[in-house]
Amino acid sequence: MDLESLRITPETPVGYALQPIKKKAAIQLMGSRVWGRFNPNHWDPAYAASTGLENPIQTGEMSSAYISEMCVNHFGAAMFKNARIVCKYIASTLADEVIVTGGVITEKTPKGKGFRFKADVWAENEAGEKKTVGWVEADIGV
């Protein structure tokens, strides 16, 4: 797929929906060394149960990474210069859940020769239960 077809342009309207990213919270990935290995609540079912968790929970930063991937697909190079991502982790992502990201353009403010776009973003499970919510900003055509 040519990701250029997804890119936000100065003509993109408020209300435009970002295309989702879908990932499985696989426990073997959650416990990898540079992610959750330092905390067994992220990868060990017995330890997680001992702390009252139904299942090991994914690090919130993994859902931020999913949201970031979606944003790079849409905003391209603009996500790397004067861009902003704000995320709040409002519920735990449990091992084995399937997580789907979403987003919608909410503001489009004139800036220079282009616009500063703002989008609400989120990550939720397949039941529609929000896990992470936030917003992003990026300059397009500025």
Partner: protein, 176 residues
């Protein structure tokens, strides 16, 4: 957590189970709540060399295969890579992920029971793969909200060689 459910999520032999228990016991030794480890104004700083291999280690568990980030490719190994900024670049939130290794003083046992709850991250300039950055964190607030204790940090990430400010962040950690 039933044994059946656990075995389904993480199939392990008896050797692996024993290794896992040993590893967890090592993590728990001497650790204490993060709230007790941090005072407002505490500042910590470390340098991180963002090698091509580190970028891959970060990306594979989140299954992000964008070629802009590839300064290492199987069979070829080190490559310059390609992105809109020239060579391979670092994913937007990679340095945010490694802030954890700075704000939790790595010279002390890891603080148990801490949960990252919020981040407000600004990507100011693209970071080339291969850069060495200095991550500086400063504890700016400790507060309680609905009976829970939080520690807030401000973060800056700059290039060690050029001084370029790449990234800024405010982040909250919930502590036991």
């Amino acid at each position: 957590m039933s044994a059946v459910k656990s075995a389904t999520l993480v199939p392990q032999s008896s050797v692996q189970k024993a290794q896992t228990r040993d590893f967890i016991e090592g993590l728990e030794q001497d650790s204490k709540p993060y709230w007790d480890m941090v005072e407002i104004g505490d500042e910590l700083s470390r340098e991180l060399h963002i090698t091509p291999e580190l970028v891959i280690l970060y990306l594979d568990p989140v299954e992000d295969y964008n070629p802009w980030y590839e300064g290492w490719r199987m069979n070829t190994w080190h490559i310059e890579g390609e992105s809109p900024f020239g060579g391979a670049i670092v994913p937007p939130l990679l340095v945010s992920h490694f802030v954890l290794s700075v704000q939790f003083d790595h010279t002390k046992p890891f603080a148990i029971g801490s949960i990252h709850t919020f981040h407000d991250s600004e990507m100011l300039e693209p970071i080339p793969v291969g850069a060495t950055v200095r991550i500086t964190t400063r504890a700016i607030d400790k507060f309680e909200k609905r009976g829970r204790r939080y520690v807030r940090h401000s973060v800056e990430v700059e290039d060690v060689a050029t001084g370029t400010l790449y990234f800024r962040e405010t982040r909250d950690i919930l502590s036991l």
